[in-house]
């Protein structure tokens, strides 16, 4: 067990080291000299060569790239992500300030998705190949194919502009949560429902379920006491990947609904060419995602001892 955890920890540290490298190099994806791009973002079009020169020195952009990287990592280790190039706010403080909005949206969406997906997946598996099952799976295939930006606009059109039931943007009251959480949650539900169905079908075909039937247990007990416990394990661990999906989807949903979260912060800073904010957001998201995957893996190994032996691919 400890060996497994140690191995996963070592792998995650390598990944995070790689992630810092990619996040750092984001500055060099943009065509042109970073100092000039930053100066443009900060002072506008009317630039003098000396302004760019001063900025290059002030931001340490005159050092060789690998030195810049090392300095940047040095700051990182002290949890210093630098300051926004546009507003001069502290990057980490800004991200942490936006985190609750994104986290709340993610939790609400996860709830929506489970409320739809678990009943649909379980019923489909219990009535395999029935009309209900085919219907659910068809709807979920359509669901996977609906882009969340379109679903968001459709919900705004229907519930905000036509029926005036919920606000179309903003953040604060419970009513503001409804449309964004529905948008993000339903697209996730489509996937979760399919996974729940597949997983439950697999478990229901196993010998211990047949044995339980042979012992004369009623279907209700078999489903709730025996089958679901094992069937939901992959669904729960899948939450790790769902978390990634939510972080990615948040970028789009937060932009549509003007939700003050990390996703919108990232998009806004891309438009503003705010390199340090982009680096900070990307790094924060990737590290959060890596750590949550690690946590899920460890949890999985604790819950299901078989994993430790056969999950070393």
């Amino acid at each position: 067990m400890w060996k497994y955890i140690a191995k996963r920890l070592a792998m995650v540290s390598i990944v995070i080291a790689g992630v810092t490298f990619i996040a750092f190099s984001a500055m060099y994806f943009a065509p042109g000299d970073p100092a000039e791009v930053i100066a443009l973002a900060r002072y506008g079009e009317d630039l003098s060569a000396s302004q760019i020169g001063t900025l290059r020195e002030a931001e340490g952009l005159d050092a060789p790239v690998h030195i810049q990287y090392l300095i940047w990592v040095g700051h990182l280790l002290r949890l210093d992500l630098g300051k926004s190039l546009v507003t001069s706010e502290d990057v980490l403080a800004e991200i942490l300030q936006k985190l609750p909005a994104t986290a709340k949206l993610a939790i609400a969406s996860l709830l929506v998705s489970f409320l739809i997906a678990l009943p649909a997946g379980i019923l489909s598996a219990l009535r395999k190949n029935s009309l209900l099952d085919r219907g659910c799976m068809f709807v979920s295939l359509v669901g996977v194919s609906i882009p969340n930006f379109w679903l968001g606009l459709l919900l705004i059109w229907l519930f905000a502009l036509t029926l005036h039931m919920f606000p179309s943007f903003g953040y604060g009251s419970l009513k503001h949560f409804v449309l964004p959480a529905l948008t993000l949650g339903t697209s996730l539900a489509a996937v979760t429902a399919r996974l729940t169905r597949a997983s439950l079908l697999e478990v229901l075909g196993q010998e211990y379920i047949v044995a339980a039937r042979a012992r004369g247990l009623d279907e209700h007990t078999i489903l709730f006491r025996h089958a679901l416990k094992n069937a939901l394990l992959p669904v729960i661990t899948f939450a790790g990947m769902q978390f990634g999906y939510l972080l990615g989807g948040a970028v789009i949903v937060e932009t549509i609904f003007s939700w003050p979260g990390i996703g919108k912060l990232l998009v806004d800073s891309i438009f503003a060419r705010d390199f340090s904010m982009i680096q900070g957001c990307v790094l924060f998201i990737a590290v959060l995602f890596s750590l949550s995957s690690l946590a899920v893996d460890i949890l999985y190994a604790v819950l299901d001892p078989r994993i430790r032996y056969d999950r070393h691919d």
Binding site: V142, W150, V251
Partner: protein
Amino acid sequence: MTDMIEKIKLTEKAYLAEKRLVFGEFRKNRLAISGLLLIAVLCFLAMFAPEIAPHDPLAQKLDSRLLSPSSEYPFGTDELGRCIFSRVVYGTRVSLGIGLLVVAATSIAGTVLGLLSGYMGGFLDEAIMRGVDIVMAFPNIILALVIAGLLGPGFSSVVLALALTQWPVYARLVRGQVLSLRKRAFVEAARALRPSSFYIMRKHILPNCMGPVIVLGTLEIAHVIIFAAALSFLGLGIQPPDPEWGSMLKAGIPYLRTAPQLTFFPGLMIIFTVFSFNFAGDGLRDSFGQPANQEVLAR
């Protein structure tokens, strides 16, 4: 010696025959066939866009702005009086083009890396797999968003951003396939006879990996098309006036109340396209007898 080679060929033939049944299955699979028919319709739209579209997709006509659907404009007109139907039809070219280009590039690169990783093992395997992990540490669309956003909008940035971020799925899949194929008798026998790794990979392993790669590639076209549309929707991909579904949606937002047709039809077209590829991919997967892949589903 020749005897042995014959025997190896026989075992591999038996294995391949088992796989060939797949295509028999596929023909019986109505899901997959209807998916392929839908894809054929899309290709038809893309190829004959100039013949199908009733108007020039870029032609502005300011006296006929924001018209509702009519016989002249089947989907109505947009804020500059352009025919939405014609723009949607031309948009097929952009989306299919991005989808096919990205999937062609990433499936080839990912397959080669996966083969090397699985077959060679050792340090190379570690290096490639950690590369895969690093790219996959950026969930969903995040990395593509940053690359495309910073490269600047346009067709080539979208393709490059998606290509750089989508190859790891194939590498991981192919590596898994190679690891299980390596244990097959015909591969072990071939290794005993033919020392060249390259020959074995090309002749025995690669052909047997193709099925799952084709399934994944089909589903990936759907993902790539959604991602590309999302980038354009955010304003970081294809820019107006080029007809692209995502950017058409973005342009329609201010008119959502008065002229919902601006957002409605391009969105339906994305759904139709993505659904076709998902449908075909699901059908293919069923006929290959593969279990639903969590990672593929999750993206």
